[in-house]
Amino acid sequence: MTSGSATSALPSFLDGYAPEATVFDELYAADGAVRPEWEYLIRSLGTLGPVEFDRRCAEGRRLLHDSGVTYNAFGEGGRSELPWMLDPMPVLISSSSWRTIEVGLVQRAELLEAVLEDLYGAQRLIRSGVLPASLIYGHSGFLRPCFGMPVAGNRHLPTYSADIARTADGTFIALGDRAQAPSGTGYALQNRVVMAHVLPSIFRDSQVHRLRFYFRRLRTALLELAPDADDIPNMVLLTPGPGSETYFEHTYLANYLGCTLVQGSDLTVADQRVWLNTLDGLRRVDVILRRVDGAFCDPLELRNDSVLGTPGLLQAARAGNVAIVNPIGCSAIENPGLMAFLPVLAQQLLGQDLKMPSVRTWWCGHDEARRYVTENLQDLVIKPTNPHSSDMTVFGGQLDAEGRDRIVAKIEAAPHLFVGQEYVRLSHAPVVVGSRLEPRPMVLRSFVAADSGGYTVMPGGLCRVAPTPDSKLVSTRSGGASKDIWVLASEPERELEAITASEAPLPLRHAEIAVGRRVAENLFWVGRYSERIEKTTRALREVARLTLEGDVTDQRDPRLQCLLSVACELTATYPPFNSGQSGPIENAGVTGILADQMLIGSVRNDIGALLGASDAVRDQFSYDTWRTILSIGSQAGSLGPTLGDLAGLEDLLTLLAAFGGLCADSMTRGARRRFLETGRCLERALALNATLRRLAADPNPANRPWHEILGLADAQTAYQVRYRSTPSAESVLDLLIDDDSNPRSLVFQLIRLDSLLQGLSPRGNQPDDVAPQKILRQALAHLRKTAQPDATEPRFFDAALESNLSYVSERLAAISTQLATNYFQPIEGPTVLTPQS
């Protein structure tokens, strides 16, 4: 079949698109014609032309990159952040196909919810023998401590997700059921945002169902589950943290749904209620949108080696004081073995036929099914029933004799832990490859949420396509791209209704989202690291200027030595260039301070720390701020190996300045911003202090590169304006220490810190003399006293300067420690008692 034969004037990117006869092709019908639901899109893309379409594709990639949409992959080298791949060709689903899917998914959700209710309650299904005990009890998702536990709103499955596929005859079947923490909604939404941006008019005119409506209903439904109806519910999204595969989505969803992003350690259970540790004390949590696997949620009753959970959480849920969505224990239905029983269960529990069939499944716990599986391995996919099993999914057809024997032995040893499933020939959807379209196998992940009115299916979802035409696995992990799903509305009126309904007023949040201690701590360090990177970069730029633009060629040049030792002081790294050997500076180790990723204190290492701290509080930054942070990260990759790239250093300084400006402009005034600014200010004071102390330590005042020191403090212009003379010790120190109108001076930092600390709420019972502000004022008083013209000691005598600065530095360090004690997350988390035998 050639694609051009049936429809005239098809765009050239369809040339050579060859649908495979044995599978369902989403784009072409069997008679070679483009399916009606695709016609408008294909025609419009034809009008757009290949050059413009390429440009739009590039624009889409840029948008995704700039938004920092990523997926964390885990491999032998640890975690790596992969860019999110979006194929710019959406997959179109007709209104009538979608209705069938919708009805099937709603019934499946109802059925699985009824199964959960029974398994954690009356257990009639097990006692009557409908479900074998080993199928349920052998599955790691069935959590015994959750037995008999009430669930909020009596909803055992408030959200549900299924991977579905279209088979050769055009029917949709379910490949897998997801309940633990169905991921993908945030990515689906992000895909939609990009597509609507890249193909605005085509999207608008295609009558695509909007996704917003679903999220609004989801948010309302979640808030409705809050146990105490009187108060404005406080909702949090519980994430395992930046190490999670889908951390991007957690931050994105938290922002979109308007809830606080928390980790298990941010929460405490007291009085059988869940509390968020905020700077202003404990704040009650009513609803937890859970993205931590159930077994890890409570070290008291579940896995006691988990550091992702909160001790006592299960008891709080049991007491009905918090709604957890989805309830812990719901992954009992993430059991492919259950699929073999769904038709019977639908009859038993709903009195209906199962509307959306599952992939044909043989649960090996039944003798007959096991025999079938072991005798027909070549045609089947063998899967463990447990989601985190050490056994992998195996394609029987790919096994040699030895592999077959091995898998049969495994099945025989624990038959209830394996299923055989039919190998599904997935339908093919068109994917952009170069400047053409090619067919690729696709799987759709769909999302369902319950509210008081029943289940709603998101009109769309996440489509994933295989990386190659003959790939057997379709998953993000295996390198496949994603697609937006366009569900076409048959009648535009429906869409209007949806929009009206979606604009119904939502409960507004009046109180400011509470600031968690972990958030405060990370923001403080974001402030410190960004300032530290700037200072080190400035020092290195001065070194580079001196050697590249100046006339210094000898490593022993005292000005160079002085700058290098300042750089050492700032970074607390002492490479061998202090030894005074001559030779090109690039080879003397100083570049390590810039680009050595493993060297603690290097610019590159500090950027890594900045990214880590920012990532942990990613939901706190505006879109543009986050883009800047990402740019700082990519700039780190291009640093070094020599100092020769002066422009690279300057670009980094520009980005850091942009970051500082964006924080100042886009963060709301309040505790969050206060901690970031405090970190920045404290670091700046410490850096200036370290620089000046280094100068005071040099016995020969003639060796001090005043000009470069001013550059380091970004105070050259200020100096020129004020003194209009060649820098001297007296004037430079006056400008950098005592001048309270110079935003780069030490006194200025201390005054600023004083006002920042003033705004922090005091901690309950701490002695006054350890209050950060008190410590700060000691430093300030000392500095001011020594600046008096009639001070008895000659101030700029090096030893005196050194001792004064040393006192200030020690006070500043004490402030940092005290802030940690008073406001940050305790270092010591919960510990598990030695159990009694």
């Binding site: 005990a133 080993s134 052998g138 405490t268 009694q836």
Partner: protein, 294 residues
């Protein structure tokens, strides 16, 4: 026989504990052969929250939280139990062990179905070929189930050394098997592991054993703290307890607290705490006949 059991658990910490969450399975449940007449758990300092429930196995669990700063936690469980002599399992019950296995798998009796879950692996007990091969000499083809069970228990008693120094609550079953030593908990796990590796249902029982040595008999081991043994399911008879540590079928000197798949399901006392530093644990169990007190 009537008993009063006093079980005192004391944790002492090097640093103050700010908050702790705990679960105690220290109150005997009632069974066909014992009635728990009364049971009370007291906690010092007084807990902010304390609530009792039944777990999935029907055991009694108390959850409590102490939210006031403390450096010592004392949990005392006091119970009065009436224990009857169980109707001894007929030593000549004829059902072979393979038939037992077949019967358990195929039965549509709800009680037998409920026992099926105890054939599966559990957090502390993995089945293995080593366990099968250890069990094999007791479970000769066609041997009656009960006879094989008693023989397995005797062999564990004979071939394994009681050695509290050798194992901890975390010791893996394979190490117990390799080193031929352990404590009552290990021997119960070992027996269960053997049975499950053969496809037979077995569960872990946590409880107490009276230590008053009858005149002229040796003092029984394992009663200074709580004790543990196992129970095997035999169709037509139900659950049959057996104590490999002391090589006997439990009689009216045994008081059951509860049961589960293994130790992790019925840990007598566990907790998670904030602060505390290092801690030391002191446990004292006192089991007395009420008739002799009053």
């Amino acid at each position: 026989m009537r008993y009063r059991v006093n079980h005192r658990t004391e944790y002492t910490y090097s640093h103050p504990v700010k908050l702790c969450h705990n679960e105690a399975r220290l109150q005997p449940r009632s069974t066909p052969y014992q009635r728990c007449e009364q049971s009370h758990i007291s906690v010092e300092p007084a807990p902010t929250v304390s609530t009792e429930r039944e777990d999935i196995f029907g055991n009694r669990v108390v959850y409590f939280a102490v939210e006031d700063e403390h450096q010592q936690l004392v949990v005392t469980s006091t119970s009065e139990i009436e224990r009857w002599h169980p109707s001894q399992a007929p030593p000549d019950h004829p059902m072979g062990w393979e038939d037992t296995r077949r019967n358990v798998r195929a039965s549509d009796d709800p009680e037998v179905r409920a026992a099926q879950q105890f054939c599966l692996e559990s957090p502390s007990i993995e089945t293995s070929p080593e366990l099968v091969s250890y069990a094999q000499s007791s479970f000769a083809p066609g041997r009656p189930m009960l006879e094989a069970l008693v023989d397995l228990s005797s062999r564990i008693h004979r071939e394994f050394e009681f050695d509290p120094e050798r194992t901890t609550v975390q010791t893996h079953l394979s190490e117990v098997l390799a080193h031929r030593g352990g404590v009552c908990q290990d021997f119960a796990h070992l027996g269960i592991g053997c049975l499950r590796s053969l496809g037979l249902p077995a569960r872990y029982v946590s409880g107490y054993l009276e230590t008053l040595p009858p005149p002229g008999k040796p003092k029984l081991v394992g009663a200074d703290a709580s004790h543990a043994w196992l129970s095997a399911f035999v169709p037509e008879l139900g659950w049959v307890d057996i104590d490999p540590t002391n090589d006997q079928l439990p009689d009216d000197r045994y008081v059951t607290i509860g049961w589960g798949r293994d130790y992790t399901d019925v840990t007598p006392f566990k907790g998670v705490l904030y602060g505390g530093g290092d801690h030391t644990l002191d446990v004292g169990v006192d089991m007395q006949r009420i008739d002799s007190i009053e």
